[in-house]
Symmetry: none
Subunit: 414 residues, 2 copies
Amino acid sequence: MKSEIIAVGSEMLTPFRQDTNSLYLTEKLNGIGVTVAFKSVVGDRRKDLVSAIKTALARTDILILMGGLGPTEDDLTREAAAEALSLTLRRDATQVAALHARAATWRITMPPNNLKQADVIEGAALLHNPNGSAPGQWLDVTFSGYRKLVMLLPGPPHECAPLFDAECLPRLKALVPPRAIAVRTLKAAMIPESQADKLLAPIYSMYTDIETTLLAHTGDLQITLICSKPTLLIAQQRVDELAEKIEVALEDWFYSSQGDTLEQIVHYYLGLRQATLAVAESCTGGLIAERITSVPGASRSFLGGVVVYSDELKTAFAGVPADLIAKHGAVSAEVAKALAEGIRARTGATIGLGVTGIAGPTGATESKPVGLVHIAVSDAQGTSNTDRTFRGDRQRIREWAAQFALDLVRRRLI
Amino acid sequence: MKSEIIAVGSEMLTPFRQDTNSLYLTEKLNGIGVTVAFKSVVGDRRKDLVSAIKTALARTDILILMGGLGPTEDDLTREAAAEALSLTLRRDATQVAALHARAATWRITMPPNNLKQADVIEGAALLHNPNGSAPGQWLDVTFSGYRKLVMLLPGPPHECAPLFDAECLPRLKALVPPRAIAVRTLKAAMIPESQADKLLAPIYSMYTDIETTLLAHTGDLQITLICSKPTLLIAQQRVDELAEKIEVALEDWFYSSQGDTLEQIVHYYLGLRQATLAVAESCTGGLIAERITSVPGASRSFLGGVVVYSDELKTAFAGVPADLIAKHGAVSAEVAKALAEGIRARTGATIGLGVTGIAGPTGATESKPVGLVHIAVSDAQGTSNTDRTFRGDRQRIREWAAQFALDLVRRRLI
């Protein structure tokens, strides 16, 4: 079954606020086999809201409205939903009493407009909201000849999520055909997106019962497989079968079948080999160390690193000979090699990583463009040197360089 | 004028991904007097996309589509927009040549499906995308008798934002009726959110013609003031008047009246004092160095740093006496002080910063809880020591610690 989530509130149409409830609801809906086909944000304007609700009802089976249930003039979700469904609103006496009781508990005089929150759409079941004054509403109605489920939920996350779990999920489970959904997230590093699609499209397009999503970001490719079947076992088997084929096709670009991050995988292999790592970074400025230490328990395999921005520190902390820098320049294969070997020697790590490059926007020369990065990985077997020229702004070049460097360490370990 | 932003991509209908581009675009649109009336997320299904585009065109003047311009089978925005507008698609020869040239630069063979990216909607102007292979498209068309502006933008944020700024904003400014909007962003560090609101609400609530938004994130407070008036001079004067009062009220928590980042301000003061900085990080694992070096030209004031995760490296790189660690433990005021003084001595920096703490989830002892962080700042006048216990997960604790440490450096410099 298909659903749509509409977040109601003009504040979510500013640059400062974003709907986050929908991520939580999506996870819960997917878990019972309901997909989210559309998400929308609509401001506190009745006309806009009515039209958005009608559009949603025309294209999905389940409509979840969040927000606009409060006591102010701007809270219009009840009115708009009733209008869109051609149903009337009635003021519920029990609800009015509850609002008065709540005001008494808080020892405040209830403003008259608060009573709006006791308005109930004809035929709606009220959904108890333990964390706020506005109850939710549940409607099981016919719209243009089709059965539709409509939920009105409060907007604040600490009201919306518990109310949905306690009141909506059980009702939905009872009505939605039982489905089991298997999800699997695969990861690969440094494969160009178009190349990944060329390799994988012929494979995943054979599995029309699995929704495959490719997402690439700065050299990190995430492949999500989602499959819905009558039983979890069948769904899981299908997903596993496709996952295995993708893993084989991606060869050594592939690094995780469980959605791990690249830094987690590097730690995994370091642990497996009982190896330790130390890094000497220039242009990445600590980004590699930051990623490596973001993993809990990082201290088991990561000894530490140096961020050697000045030439003097390259010599002082990583033992790069000053005349080597003078001869080849700080951004050179020779200095990357010396950084990797130097940090390895000074820390006693199994593997030393050295990175030097030009992150920009300044610092380029005729032979050394912005984006040029030299990376060296050193261990007992020797030192390997690689260079790449990345595009983008300072931040992007640093992110690409860090991703590439971590991947080179992973490749050295496998 | 009213606009709608549609983010295209099935991944944004999962629990894992969210559209963030729209926040950036909203800020820019608001700045030229265009409001965002609706935001939507639609998956990679052509039928859904066509219907969403038609709905949007029926209710707004300006439609911005983001995503779905890539080379894969799932990238359907061009096709769907053409269908919704009843326009044809043609393959642009210049664009085909550009794609081939791009592939040649990257030294890869271009997969045939890449050529999709050269498809242009009849009458569209191509928008140059310096950061990706798919160009944007700009349409000035008639739909159901009304003039509509339609933009097709790439989805990745680093492509979307610069393309919008360079290509769409100037075109929109030329077409949208001029309005004068003054915007000012103020920044403060480490002030508790509730304290900020208590201090500032009595001030900003007097300026009912200014929209004031407070946004707090890990010790960083951003206050945005927006004022629309018949002339820019009047709007700017109002905003400046309120900004000055806020600046005074926030005392030394306040650090920027122009929306700068904390690391930019640290660099600003380092430059002003002709001072240099070096850092020795343990629990922040490179996060402080990473933030400092994210600022272009960082090498002028930042010499470098060490990430000393193991006790041995604290001694080897920052000269922390081994018996000091043995006596007080690696997470202690004494070791933070030794780190700050040691890194300052070894690098010759004007200021040395030392950070050690327990980021968790493991590593706590009875007297040293997860979240405990010791920070020391050292210069020619001496060394100051501070500790705090932050709450949250590993990532949050590291972010708080880095923010606090940078703020202490700022306070030492002012």
